[in-house]
Symmetry: C2
Subunit: 219 residues, 2 copies
DNA sequence: ACAAAAGTGTTGCTGTTACACCCATGG
DNA sequence: CCATGGGTGTAACAGCAACACTTTTGT
């Protein structure tokens, strides 16, 4: 086969989490040229003896310290000029995680969480990639496609927390009382018996998802 | 860079159409070894100076004789053993077309449309790929994700035609009368003023989609 | 006592479901 | 005139939107 049929392929892993009612992405600051000091999506070049899924999982474990992440395939980027050197095909993956369970709970100088609508200076075409992928992700969360919405709340939560995130993703306000009635009334969530009590006001009930009812549910 | 970071990449184009109320895919019979006589998904190797989108469009035009197809990205396949020779990464695209507008209206010996649940003997891992991609496509049609449902009916149709396809995709029966009321009552379709008259029975009204109302509509 | 946050109740509207019934065409 | 397929009507019900109102906490 001619040489022109060989391509460099990289895996990009966009790690998302729901935090403070917002959709956030984990990024790393580049330590060397090119784009030294710019932020980038965690990535890895694919070698001939690794599958893309293995590659994405390795990036995930390396970044978060966790194993068996919820990783799904997203878009592929193949513009001719997206890399400075050879043409590189980027295959992006989405990981959904709980920020508090990872090694990267707090922001540091070179590893940090960003709101997807408040991105820092990004290297390469990574800003465009984040925009395209998170646009797709928001659509999927909004329709709970492939149970995306559930994956953001693996552990207990209050309904206001859930609502904050949902309003942010949909970018429109929702009536607090109707939201409550919907999830409790349709048994989409289960009362864990516990309460939160942060700050003033009545403590919120901690719920977990009723997975049977939420499976494939369009919200 | 070391040689082990170079990979062969191929574009697969899965061309789908709604026909006789069923979801069909266009396949070609392989004329040479390996897998001579087996059916395969139209494909092309990617060279360094072409984007995947250009590659998919070229396959589309070559197969259908049409330009500017409705093409969207689907899954990527990177198992180590999916090709007989070198490891080849397959990037699949979905094209939705109208069978009657293409060069391939009738089945021939080596170019043919197949119902996705009645596939012929397929080469490589193409059967698995068709199953995975069409599973995803059915999910998207069922939720009208990215307006997939609309794309299958670019020209006029009768409501029973629409319903047949929808029942097939959802794999469950729908009440004919409620289906009619939903689409007409909510102005999701527009009466073109024309009728069909094939066979016995009352002729059906020909409708077209009311794109404004169907845009982003969850059905 | 008061503010803040969580939870309950009521009403009307929209869309779905499950039916019975009527209309237009070909043989 | 009757079989076949397309179109209209109606009543019960679930879910959603827009509200007023009550309960539980911290200060």
């Amino acid at each position: 086969m001619e040489n022109s049929y060989y391509n460099v392929v990289e895996t990009l892993l966009l790690i998302f989490a729901a935090d403070e009612g917002k959709l956030k992405i984990y990024l790393e600051k580049k330590q060397d040229e090119p784009y030294k000091g710019y932020w980038t999506i965690p990535s890895s070049l694919l070698d001939q003896n690794t599958t893309l899924e293995e590659c994405a999982n390795a990036i995930y474990t390396n970044a978060t310290g966790l194993h068996n992440g919820l990783i799904s395939q997203s878009k592929v980027f193949s513009s001719l000029n997206r890399s400075l050197k050879e043409r590189t095909i980027a295959i992006s993956y989405i990981a959904i995680t709980d920020k508090t369970l990872t090694d990267i709970k707090q922001n540091t100088n070179d590893k940090s969480w960003f709101q997807i609508d408040e991105l820092p200076k990004l290297g390469f075409d990574h800003e465009q990639i984040i925009n395209e992928v998170s646009r797709e992700l928001r659509d999927k969360i909004a329709t709970n496609y492939d149970d995306m919405f559930i994956k953001f709340f693996p552990s207990d939560f209050t309904l206001p927390e859930l609502q904050n995130f949902y309003e942010y993703v949909l970018n429109k306000p929702i009536d607090r009382r109707n939201f409550h009635k919907k999830f409790v009334g349709q048994d989409l969530v289960i009362d864990t018996g516990f309460k939160t009590s942060k700050g003033s006001g009545r403590p919120g009930t901690l719920y977990k998802f009723n997975l049977d009812k939420m499976k494939g549910k369009r919200i």
